[in-house]
Symmetry: C2
Subunit: 419 residues, 2 copies
Amino acid sequence: MSRYDPYFEPAAGNGLLDRRFFLKAGAASSALLMTASVSAQERPPWMKLPGAALSESGAPSTFEAHVKRINVNPRIGTTGSGSSRTPLEHLEGIITPSRLHFERHHSGIPEIDPDQHRLVIHGLVDRPLSFNVESLARYSTVSRIQFLECSGNSGGMIAPTPMQGSASQIHGLISASEWGGVPLRALLEEAGVKPAAKWIIADGADAAVMARSVPLDKILDDAIVALYQNGERLRPSNGYPMRLFLPGWEGNMSVKWLRSIRVTATPAMTKDETSKYSDLNDDGIATLFSFPMGVKSVITSPSPGLALGAPGIYQISGIAWSGSGKIRRVEISADGGKSWADAALDRHVLSKCLTRFRSAWRWDGGPAILKSRATDEDGNVQPTRDVVLKNRASNSFYHYNGIQAWKIDRQGEASNVYA
Amino acid sequence: MSRYDPYFEPAAGNGLLDRRFFLKAGAASSALLMTASVSAQERPPWMKLPGAALSESGAPSTFEAHVKRINVNPRIGTTGSGSSRTPLEHLEGIITPSRLHFERHHSGIPEIDPDQHRLVIHGLVDRPLSFNVESLARYSTVSRIQFLECSGNSGGMIAPTPMQGSASQIHGLISASEWGGVPLRALLEEAGVKPAAKWIIADGADAAVMARSVPLDKILDDAIVALYQNGERLRPSNGYPMRLFLPGWEGNMSVKWLRSIRVTATPAMTKDETSKYSDLNDDGIATLFSFPMGVKSVITSPSPGLALGAPGIYQISGIAWSGSGKIRRVEISADGGKSWADAALDRHVLSKCLTRFRSAWRWDGGPAILKSRATDEDGNVQPTRDVVLKNRASNSFYHYNGIQAWKIDRQGEASNVYA
């Protein structure tokens, strides 16, 4: 490999290589150098007979059946309440396939007949309005690729000892999609918002009537009534036939199965924003209405369950995001944070979206602690766990965005550590 | 609606409104003005009981069962040969769900065990190399959202009289995805390309051994060995476990189930680039190796099968793309091309990708002919049908990128016309 020597210069401690490494050189150690004659390569059985026919819907390979949402057991004593998680460590890029988008329901998934469904806009408006799917589709649609994160994501990281599990089990309540829908601003302008209005209350058509208060400024800024996800209509587990979508804000405010927008002067203080989704401090006072999700990142490969093989050069890959805008920078450490190197960001760096980052790492077979640290375009830097938990009550688990440390042992296995 | 008067100024003939129309005003006519009390709105049945539970894979709504790939019957007398098409008129935005990505197979879909599959790089190289999925995954991956179009797409438009069918039936061999994989340049650098090399021959692991010649310059520019589509592993109908992906070039060169890359000095003149995928001229000479797909657009709504309702304001929506780079401009006409207005482009305008365009149109209930005309960043302008077919043989149907005209009749029905 001597011809690539300049690119083997370390960028930080414990084997981190320059982010341009992969631009110039392959990871030579991973190719199987051929000795057999190419012409002697035998044809596999699937080349000897015609394959399967065309179909109306292309399914994943049966060899990928392990790639599925995890933790699908509903909460004990309820029906349909709970969450399932995106299998982050099996995905690449920034789009989450709709079938694998995380779920969080409060009373299961209603089976809604779109012809019977209505969205009503009322309250402090000049003209209450009612829309069905067909009438909404006549408004100008916008499409944006953006993330959605449950504010309870990564909440297990508040435990006094590190929970063990995959990247998905710890951080899998984050997904990204192309969301298409109608700017709510256009609908509110048509209804005519009265001067006293400062908030809206959004209700879902599930049996729990999930309801959240949203400041009117956010609604007028970039809220949409989403009808489409990744090109097709929303799937039922993500709000079919329509949901609110609030870019960058905590997931459950993007109310699914959206049924009612009531324009008000004050927030409603619903059960879903007081008993839940608020942040209890160690002085017994709760912080309400902490809406935007913080700047955050996690390395998805390597991560627990994806063991390294022989020592050699590996790709470190992960996702970073911020509710404030674009990701500007991701740094990686292989020595537990003593030294850092810039990761390469993939081509598509979009606002309030997942950004894929990558780095080259020469693992020498010894122990290592991998970390990533994201910075967004506003200059917000992902904090350490200690900083996140400072002044929090011991059972306060929402809005956790601390730096994740994966320990790599001599067998190449990764585990969750506080380091 | 008098408060929005300035935005009702026409931008072109027969009702086309300024593209900023939707930014300021809703399409007031489509809302159902409420007369009933909101509180009297009865709860639908799905709010009265808990809904469905969490699941490992979120399926589409049963109410969307009509959204599927079309024309799935294989070619008569073959097994698994033919194509199925993306239901363009039911989609929005720029991403095509993987299950709805178009298919074109020459001998069906092989069921490949990824652990048994190998990609061999050989020919004019210093070191022949063999890769499996696992070894490829150690190379640096890139992800890009880009289109793939079959060069036979829209070929029905060469018929002397306009074929009748939906936008999908005529133009549905176009889709866009986030493609993730390893730059082939890195693999070739590792193999060591000899000075005489000018082409590569890519073979698929299907029973037809689909094979195409690709200039080495393209391979070194932006070709990848794709492992991922929209975040997850490729689906079998799109090349699982790996395919070549050549951004902007005719689809079948992005060889699925990629098995072999042979580096050569000359093209192979395979059956798949001589008997097919070449353009016969009216002097009996065929143009070979016309690789990049031309600048093109099609209005997907309204389009045949999506009838308009009452006269009023509608959203015109469609997709534009170019194999040369980004879309710079899309113009719309509602009077058959006598006058044109600029459409609004959606936020994400990406290189060699679908770009969504939209326009506001006040349909007066009379006949209209809708057209769209795309221009790319190199200044290429989508041609008329006459220009596309000039000097072509009468049975030459590849690489058709002419302007599509949809006639809207007084009932609001759209049909394909040559106008």
